[in-house]
């Protein structure tokens, strides 16, 4: 099956990329000035304590030796233990990753839920007041920093009105949804703006295309035309966007998690960078890279599947 071949080919392409990423991150992390051990022990620890811990953690070996150790362990799935928290890195990542993925998923769903209908309304009313109003509102959303919107939403809807919990993550699935609504909304706004704009343009383009006139000439109702032809193309465009924006969403998640105290990988990454917790930084970076690559892969695949014109 040609598609399977294509898939395998792509997966194979990714492997050397990951290797390069792993090495790059490894080296970069160790270039960070100030080392993990004195960051952990604070400014009062004696030199002997620091040297002892450094040797214990194997950080006094040559860069090459450490890299080799890291790679050989990583291939077996062992990413070591967090330097500051003394627990296996994968466990920290496994606890934090679902949180961020949920946040990004909720943000995507909200973004689509907001953008899809509004894009159609805007396109169908092109350049009249509903269109202008919608585009104006989204323009503001696109131009606002994530932390600013988050701060406002948190203070107003959680702090003053009490409609939502003030940050955090909750325990049950239902609670997760409830706690992640506001941060998800915050994260979704700039993405929604991008989706809206692209979708509107795509719908407009399709509406004015020839084959629509042709179909209408055949007597099909406008709504049927819209649904069958427009939707399919619109979907393709949107899927592409989602895939391409996973990186931006993950980046935005970092700030959102800070404001809303959501225990995801964004926070973990920042804390680890500041604590020089190399094993965590390395593992998280690889995980993020894998996620984004997979997103691209899925996007390309869905694009190919939905649109037979896109060949390889």
């Amino acid at each position: 099956m040609p598609r399977l071949g294509w898939l395998l080919g792509r997966l194979l392409q990714i492997v050397p990329t990951f290797l390069l990423i792993g090495i790059a991150v490894f080296v970069l992390a160790r270039l960070l000035p100030g080392d993990a051990v004195s960051a952990m022990l604070g400014d009062r620890a004696s030199d002997e304590t620091i040297n002892r811990l450094t040797a214990q953690l194997g950080l006094n070996r040559s860069l090459g030796a450490q890299l080799l150790a890291f790679l050989s362990a990583a291939v077996q799935g062992d990413f070591g233990a967090s330097l500051s928290r003394h627990v296996p890195v994968l466990r920290l990542v496994a606890e934090a990753l679902p949180v961020t993925l949920s946040l990004v998923a909720i943000a995507t769903v909200l973004a689509l839920a907001i953008a899809l209908p509004l894009a159609f309304i805007a396109a169908l009313n092109a350049n009249r007041w509903p269109d202008i109003a919608i585009r104006a509102v989204f323009q503001v959303g696109l131009s606002s920093p994530v932390f600013y919107i988050g701060l406002i939403l948190l203070t107003v809807f959680a702090g003053w009105l009490g409609w939502f919990p003030v940050g955090g993550y909750g325990e049950t699935f239902g609670e997760h949804l409830y706690h992640l609504f506001l941060p998800g909304l915050t994260l979704s706004l700039s993405f929604a703006a991008v989706v809206m704009r692209n979708l509107r343009a795509a719908v407009l383009a399709v509406l004015t295309a020839e084959y629509v006139d042709f179909a209408r000439a055949k007597g099909l109702a406008r709504s049927v035309v819209l649904l069958r032809h427009v939707l399919r193309n619109a979907l393709i465009a949107t899927v592409t966007l989602v895939g391409l924006h996973v990186g931006a969403l993950l980046g935005g998640a970092v700030i959102t998690e800070t404001v809303f105290a959501v225990p995801g990988v964004g926070r973990l990454m920042i804390d680890s960078i500041f604590a020089r917790d190399y094993p965590v930084i390395q593992a998280l970076t690889l995980v993020l890279a894998v996620l984004v690559s997979l997103a691209f892969l899925v996007t390309d695949f869905v694009q190919m599947w939905l649109d037979p014109r896109v060949g390889r």
Partner: protein, 268 residues
């Protein structure tokens, strides 16, 4: 016939205000942005302090105006360096192709699989907080879209008739690039650059908020918002107005970028 849409005009006006504030802050700002005023700590907006004051009595309006220069500078440098580096790389890769293109593809894959903000934070953590290091970090990471744009344009232009004619006539590569390909490729790059500046302001202010960007006592919009976040319930004006400034500046750049795209008939 290029259209001057109302959106473009609005964008230009907003940008004009920001540029004015950045160019001559001392004329526009009623107070010294650094001066403490113990008689008016955390004062609400009033006739004497239209945007209120912060916890040190510094006038928010003056600080917001002065911050325009820093944020505009951030927008400029975070666009110019990636543009120059990416543009050059894209030009060369697009023209020569071959294995250079393959390596380029690999490198792009590498950079693009990272969330931009995380990578920038990473670099700034390595180099240390401060605006210069932010520019270096952004240059290392942000050149990719410009390179891709430039490469795509070069690939298209390579096939065109006048380039073929130039080659037949024996023109050297640099001449073809400069006289024919570059001017055409400029338009989409320019449009992207303007919208990129809006994104740069958001990035700069996010880094300022995290404590990695501009340093005190310099005013920068993100830093001003972070200053006020602890007073959001008691003195919301400290964070509110700088935030509005970011939004307006961002809208200015976005609308101008969109309008420019329409004006130059460039695909968005």
């Amino acid at each position: 016939m290029p259209r001057l849409s109302p959106a473009l005009l609005l964008g230009a006006v907003l940008l004009g205000i920001v540029l004015l504030a950045a160019a001559v802050p001392d004329w526009l700002a009623p107070y010294d942005p650094l001066a403490f005023d113990f008689t008016a700590l955390s004062a609400a907006p009033s006739a004497i302090h239209p945007f209120g004051t912060d916890q040190f009595g510094r006038d928010i309006l003056s600080r917001t105006i002065h911050a325009a220069r820093i944020d505009l500078q951030i927008a400029l440098f975070c666009m110019v360096f990636p543009l120059l580096i990416g543009g050059l790389i894209g030009l060369l890769v697009g023209w020569y192709g071959g294995w250079i293109d393959a390596v380029f593809g690999r490198l792009v894959d590498l950079v693009v699989t990272f969330p931009f903000l995380v990578l920038v934070i990473f670099f700034v953590a390595v180099l240390g907080p401060g605006l210069v290091n932010v520019y270096i970090a952004v240059a290392c990471v942000g050149w990719v879209p410009y390179a891709k744009l430039m490469r795509a344009e070069v690939l298209v232009q390579r096939q065109s008739d006048y380039v073929a004619a130039g080659r037949v006539l024996g023109y050297a590569m640099p001449r073809i690039l400069l006289r024919h390909i570059l001017p055409n490729a400029c338009r989409p790059v320019l449009v992207y650059a303007v919208t990129d500046m809006a994104l740069a302001i958001l990035l700069g202010s996010s880094l300022g908020y995290l404590g990695l960007g501009a340093q005190p006592p310099t005013a920068e919009w993100g830093v001003l918002i972070a200053d006020g976040k602890n007073f959001f319930t008691t003195a919301p004006w400290i964070s509110l107005f700088p935030g509005v400034a970011i939004v307006l500046a961002g809208i200015g750049f976005s609308l101008t970028g969109d309008g420019l795209a329409d004006f130059l008939a460039v695909k968005k």
